[in-house]
C-alpha cells in the first residue's frame, strides 16, 4: 500500500501553560516536519501531556503559538483543527459498535454513505479487524480496542495524528506487537505523528525524533541515537537508557580542557589521577556518563582492568547487585565517585557476586562529560537548576 495522505507540519512557538501559580509547560518550541514521527517523552508531570492537550485544543496555552501547516490554530475550536487522536484508555464510544465508532469521524467530516462504508472497511482492514465491525467495544480484548481506537483515528486520513500513551494499558508482548503495527501504519499513511509516552524503550523504538520533557521544559530534542549517545544533560542521560555516572571536574591543562575524575585513588593501577582531554565543557564541577555497552567489567585478578587497550581507562568499583536478563547480565556498581549500571553480554559475563570488588574500564572517547547539577538546555539556553529533581507539579488535564 502506498502513502494515502500527506502529513502536516506542526510548529510550537514558545508555548507556556500555567495553572494558577503552577507552570505546567514553559517555553516549549518545536518544529515537526510533515510525515515525521515525534515522541514527547518524560516522567509524569513533566508537561508532555499538557503540551499534547494544547496541540489538540483541550487546553489553551497561556502564551505562545501553535501552527499546523502554517495555519495558526491557537484559539481555533477543537473540532476544526482536523486532528486524529488515540486516547489513553482508548475512549471508544461504549454505546456504538466498532463500525459506528470508526464511522463517527467520517460522519462529522461530511463523508457520504458509500465513502463512509469504504473508509470504515479500509481502516478496519489496516488494523486487521475487518471481522469485528458489528461487535460492541465491551466485547473486545484490550489489544483489539486499541486497534479500533487506531482505526477510528486514521479513518478520515487526518494529516496530524496525536497519540497519548496509547499502549500503556497493554501487557508487554502485545505492546511490542502494536508498536510494530503503529510503525507500519505510520509508514503507509505518511501522517505526522506526535506520540506521548513515559516509556523510553517505546520512544526509542518508534520515533524519528524524541523530545525529552522534565519539569515542564524541553530538555533535549534529537534522534534516538543522538539522545542516547550525546545526552545534553544529567536528566536526559539518566532518563534515557542505563549508564554509570562518575563525579569529577573540568579544568584547564596545558593542552586545553580536561576532565579529572574525583577520587582518582580509586584507580585500579593506583598510578595517580585519571583524566582525559575534553573539547567543550564549562570549568568546574562536572560528571562523566558512560553507557553500559562501553564499559568493561572484570574481576580484580591483578592485571586485567585499567590496563586494557590504549585509549581506555579504569577504576575500582564494588558490585552491589547482579541481574541475569537473558541476553546480558546487568551489574549495579558503586565506587567513591559515583556508580550506575554496567551490562556484559551473557556469553562473556564474568562470574562475580554482590560485594565483590571489580575493575571497570572504558573507552574515553565514548565517555560523555556533563555539567554537574546545572545544565544548559538546547531550547533556550536558560539555566535549569536541579535538572535531576523529579517533577512535583502533577500533570493536569
Amino acid at each position: 500500500m502506498t502513502s494515502r495522505g500527506t502529513g502536516a507540519a506542526l510548529r510550537l512557538t514558545e508555548i507556556c501553560k500555567r495553572f494558577g501559580s503552577v507552570a505546567a509547560a514553559t517555553d516549549i518550541s518545536l518544529d515537526v516536519a510533515p510525515g515525521e514521527f515525534v515522541s514527547l517523552l518524560g516522567p509524569s508531570g513533566s508537561g508532555k501531556t499538557t503540551t499534547l492537550n494544547m496541540i489538540a485544543g483541550f487546553e489553551e496555552p497561556t502564551s505562545g503559538r501553535i501552527a499546523i501547516n502554517d495555519r495558526d490554530v491557537t484559539g481555533i475550536p477543537i473540532h476544526r483543527r482536523n486532528i486524529g487522536m488515540v486516547f489513553q484508555g482508548y475512549a471508544l464510544f461504549p454505546h456504538l459498535t466498532v463500525g459506528k465508532n470508526v464511522e463517527y469521524p467520517l460522519r462529522q467530516h461530511g463523508y457520504g454513505r458509500d465513502a463512509r462504508r469504504e473508509a470504515v472497511a479500509r481502516a478496519l482492514e489496516t488494523v486487521s479487524l475487518s471481522g469485528l465491525r458489528d461487535r460492541m467495544p465491551a466485547q473486545l480484548s484490550g489489544g483489539q480496542r486499541q486497534r479500533v481506537a487506531l482505526a477510528r483515528a486514521i479513518a478520515y486520513d487526518p494529516p496530524l495524528l496525536l497519540m497519548d500513551e496509547p499502549l500503556s494499558a497493554l501487557d508487554k508482548a502485545l505492546r511490542e506487537g502494536l508498536q510494530f503495527e503503529i510503525r507500519r501504519i505510520h509508514r503507509e499513511l505518511g501522517t505526522t505523528v506526535v506520540y506521548v509516552t513515559h516509556d523510553q524503550d517505546e520512544a526509542l523504538a518508534l520515533s524519528d525524533r524524541i523530545v525529552v520533557f522534565n519539569d515542564g521544559r524541553v530538555q533535549q530534542v534529537g534522534a534516538p541515537s543522538e539522545l542516547y549517545s550525546r545526552p545534553a544533560n544529567d536528566f536526559v542521560s539518566r532518563f534515557l537508557g542505563e549508564s554509570i555516572h562518575l563525579r569529577g571536574a573540568v579544568r584547564e591543562s596545558g593542552r586545553g580542557l580536561e576532565f579529572v575524575l574525583e577520587d582518582s585513588r580509586a584507580d585500579v593501577s593506583a598510578g595517580g589521577e585519571i583524566s582525559w582531554p575534553v573539547k567543550e565543557a564549562r570549568l568546574g564541577a562536572a560528571q562523566t556518563m558512560i553507557r553500559p555497552e562501553n564499559v568493561t567489567l572484570a574481576p580484580l585478578d591483578g592485571t586485567s582492568a585499567g590496563e586494557g587497550a590504549p585509549g581506555t581507562t579504569g577504576i575500582r568499583a564494588v558490585v552491589r547487585d547482579v541481574v541475569y536478563t537473558g541476553h546480558s547480565v546487568k551489574y549495579v556498581v558503586e565506587c567513591p565517585s559515583g556508580g550506575g549500571v554496567v551490562r556484559m553480554s551473557s556469553s562473556g559475563a564474568p562470574n562475580v557476586s554482590p560485594g565483590q570488588e571489580v575493575g571497570l574500564s572504558w573507552d574515553i572517547g565514548r565517555a560523555r562529560v556533563l555539567g554537574e547539577r546545572s545544565v544548559r538546555t538546547e531550547a533556550d539556553g536558560a539555566q535549569v537548576a536541579g535538572a535531576v529533581q523529579s517533577g512535583e507539579n502533577e500533570e493536569r488535564r
Partner: protein, 277 residues
C-alpha cells in the same frame, strides 16, 4: 436455602404482611363493598369527577417528571463534572429537602405563594400585578417538583459520574461541535439515569397526599386526596379501593411503557451496564 437467603426471610415476611396483604384486601373490597359486583368500577368509568381526578393525577405526574428531569439534568451534570468540594456542596443542597418534613416544606411554599406572600410582595416591589398560585394545580406542581428533585438528581448523577469525560472530547477532536458531541455521545450514555429518575419520580408523584392537600384546592383533587375522602369521609371503601386499583394499574402501565421505550433506545442501554430497568 443459603444462609444469606435465610437472612432475607424477615424482610420477605414484612413485605408480605405490610404490603401484599393490605393490597389484596383493598382489591378484594373494590369488588365486594358495599356489595359484590363491579359497581365501584362502573362508578369510576362513568363519573366525570372521578375520571377527572385520575386524568389530572397522571397529567400532574407527567409534568412533574418532565420538569424535574429538565431541572435536574444540568444540575447533575454540574455535580458530576465539578471538583470534589463543589460536588459535596451541591449534594448537600440537593439533599437538604430530604432532612425537612414534607409538611414544613409545604408550609414554606404557602408562605411564599400566598396572596400577601413573598412572591407577590416581590412582584409588587417591581411593579408587576400579583399572581394567585396558591390553591391551584400549579402550586401543587411546584411543591412536588421541589420534593422530587433529589430522586431525579441522584440517579442522573450516579450514571453521569460513570461517563468517561474523554468521550465527548474524543467526539470533539473527530470533528463534532460541542452540541453534537453532547447529543451523540453524552446524552445517550446518560439515558439510563434519565430513565431511572423518571420512573422513580413518576411513581412517587402519583402518590402525593400532603402537598396537594396543603397547596392545592379541593376542586382540583388528585387520586390520593380523593381516595382519602372516599374512604375516611364517605366511608366508601369500595370506591376508594377502585381508585387505588386504578393507580396501581397506571403505575404498571407506565412501568411497561418506560421499559419498552428504554428497549427501543436499545439493548444498548443494557449493554453499557448501567441499565435502569
Amino acid at each position: 436455602m443459603t444462609k444469606a437467603g435465610t437472612l432475607a426471610w424477615p424482610a420477605l415476611v414484612l413485605i408480605a404482611a405490610a404490603f401484599f396483604v393490605p393490597v389484596a384486601m383493598i382489591i378484594a373490597r373494590s369488588f365486594t363493598d358495599p356489595e359484590p359486583g363491579l359497581q365501584n368500577y362502573t362508578w369510576l368509568m362513568t363519573n366525570a369527577t372521578a375520571q377527572g381526578v385520575v386524568l389530572r393525577t397522571v397529567w400532574t405526574a407527567l409534568l412533574a417528571t418532565v420538569i424535574t428531569a429538565v431541572l435536574a439534568y444540568p444540575y447533575a451534570y454540574l455535580m458530576a463534572t465539578s471538583s470534589p468540594l463543589i460536588r459535596g456542596l451541591l449534594l448537600i443542597v440537593v439533599l437538604l429537602p430530604f432532612w425537612t418534613s414534607m409538611m414544613v416544606r409545604a408550609f414554606a411554599w404557602i408562605i411564599i405563594l400566598q396572596r400577601n406572600g413573598l412572591l407577590n410582595t416581590a412582584l409588587d416591589a417591581v411593579g408587576l400585578p400579583p399572581v394567585a398560585i396558591l390553591g391551584t394545580n400549579a402550586a401543587v406542581l411546584i411543591g412536588m417538583c421541589q420534593v422530587l428533585m433529589p430522586f431525579m438528581v441522584l440517579p442522573l448523577f450516579s450514571v453521569m459520574l460513570g461517563i468517561d469525560m474523554k468521550l465527548p472530547l474524543a467526539a470533539r477532536i473527530m470533528g463534532a461541535p460541542g452540541w453534537k458531541a453532547f447529543l451523540g455521545v453524552y446524552l445517550p450514555l446518560s439515558l439510563p439515569g434519565v430513565f431511572a429518575g423518571a420512573l422513580i419520580v413518576f411513581i412517587l408523584s402519583l402518590g402525593f397526599y400532603v402537598t396537594p392537600a396543603l397547596l392545592g384546592s379541593p376542586r382540583e383533587q388528585l387520586v390520593p386526596n380523593a381516595l382519602y375522602s372516599q374512604v375516611l369521609e364517605l366511608l366508601a371503601w369500595g370506591r376508594g379501593g377502585a381508585l387505588a386499583v386504578a393507580l396501581l394499574v397506571l403505575v404498571g402501565a407506565v412501568f411497561l411503557l418506560l421499559y419498552l421505550v428504554a428497549r427501543a433506545f436499545g439493548v444498548r442501554i443494557g449493554r453499557i451496564g448501567g441499565a435502569a430497568l
